[in-house]
């Protein structure tokens, strides 16, 4: 029986890699069944199970969304680690911008840590040189 190679990965780990006679997944437009020799296909994945059938054995993985790429001899599932929604992305983006603005606003703060540590390093270096010069005398 012919098989197709399947890789399931998420951004923090490799979930599954192996051969399959049939792969079932939940696409954004509905359930998909992929057999070896499938025509190239690119689709989004909805939250749902991805089932990998190899002969009589079957394994199932939950996937909370992501992408599915099909080549005639290869299926790649790029799974997201978390549910993604545009609104969530937006709020994350705003957060990153806010931190940047806060940093700028803090510029005149009385205690500038970076500056203080730089001055400290300079003072230590100066002290060292003085000590060295003294030793030579």
């Amino acid at each position: 029986m012919s098989t197709i190679k399947i890789n399931i990965v998420s951004s923090s780990e490799e979930i599954y890699s192996g051969e399959a006679t049939m792969v079932y997944a939940t696409g954004t437009l509905g359930e998909l069944g992929i057999a070896p020799g499938h025509t190239p296909l690119l689709t989004g994945l909805a939250a749902g199970p991805v089932r990998v059938q190899n002969g009589s054995e079957e394994e199932a993985f939950f996937c909370s969304g992501g992408f599915l790429e099909v080549q005639p001899d290869l299926v790649t599932v790029l799974s997201d680690t978390a549910e993604r929604a545009d609104s969530l992305d937006e709020s994350e983006a705003i957060k990153a911008k806010e931190i940047a603005e806060q940093e700028l606003a803090n510029k005149d703060a009385t205690l500038d840590y970076a500056k203080a540590s730089a001055q400290l390093a300079e003072a230590v270096a100066r002290l060292k040189t003085i000590q060295k010069l003294r030793k030579k005398q």
Partner: protein, 287 residues
């Protein structure tokens, strides 16, 4: 001439510093293993998404994505990945030097720069140096979550979409081995088109479900995110390795310093005894 008490005090203080640095060295060594594991765990995803992206580049798609488009550049954004903590030798500063050099290079071609910063050290540096900072992500910890970087990446990609920037660079340290970390400035956008393989079958395209535009947008965004995430976890591994080396050097230097001071201490002690003796002898002969 220094007195014995002073020298002894100095030796004691250096010894306690040495204890701290050697403890930090050991902590860094154990963290290094973990961060390297994290780095390796993230690799499959970035390799696979790279494969998919290269397949897409080969497909004669109906929709040319803006990330591949070469615009006449006016402004570039640097995504700078740094560590949150210091005491890791020249790791961060070497990277910043490269970023500044590249930014100056672009400036000569009349391309402005702005910065999206990851890590406390980068934001502290660019605060003192100046420069337009558009987004910051800090305190991601030793095992950063990919989700923590979504916001920052989105800011940069949105700026690209609105034509506020025309190029994006990813600046981070590459992990060569424990002893060597290589600062890199890599071009993210526009994406370098894959070299066309002559032997590849002609003219084919995917079936897109639902729309090519929607899918490619999502996929390429994920691709950029995965590159940034990979850079962050690789930089973490670099940080721990650099920290271990820096702390090892500090411990060794403290040892050398202690040896030197002990010699000095003995000299001073001997001098004091000799002086005392000669005083006693002098006093006795005077009587």
């Amino acid at each position: 001439m220094a007195n014995t008490k002073e020298v002894r005090k100095q030796i004691a203080s250096i010894k306690s510093t040495q204890k701290i640095t050697s403890a930090m060295e050991m902590v860094a060594a154990s963290k290094m293993k973990k961060t390297q594991d994290t780095m390796l765990e993230g690799r499959p995803y970035s390799l696979k998404i790279k494969d998919v992206i290269s397949h897409i580049a080969l497909a004669s798609s109906e929709y040319p994505h803006p990330f591949y488009e070469e615009r006449s550049p006016k402004k570039a954004c640097f995504i700078v990945v740094s560590s949150d903590k210091g005491l890791c030798g020249g790791l961060n500063i070497n990277l910043f030097k490269q970023v500044i050099a590249r930014s100056a290079e672009l400036n000569e071609q009349e391309i402005e720069s702005c910065f999206a910063l990851i890590g406390t050290k980068a934001s502290a540096f660019f605060k003192s140096v100046g420069g337009e900072v558009v987004a910051v992500a800090e305190k991601l910890g030793d095992k950063p979550n990919p989700d923590d970087l979504i916001g920052l990446t989105k800011v940069v990609l949105d700026m690209h979409k609105n034509s506020d920037i025309d190029q994006a660079y990813l600046c981070s340290n590459g992990f060569v081995n424990t002893m060597t970390q290589q600062p890199n400035v890599e071009q993210l956008i526009p994406l370098a088109p894959e070299e066309q393989d002559e032997s590849s079958p002609t003219q084919w395209d995917y079936i897109y479900e639902p729309e090519a535009k929607e899918l490619l947008d999502g996929l390429l965004t994920r691709y950029i995110e995965s590159l940034v995430y990979q850079a962050v976890i690789e930089n973490n591994a670099c940080e721990q390795a650099a920290k271990m080396i820096a702390m090892k050097n500090a411990t060794d230097n403290a040892g050398d310093l202690i040896k030197e001071l002990e010699l000095l201490y003995n000299n001073v002690r001997q001098a004091a005894i000799t002086q005392e003796l000669s005083e006693i002898v002098g006093g006795a002969s005077a009587v």
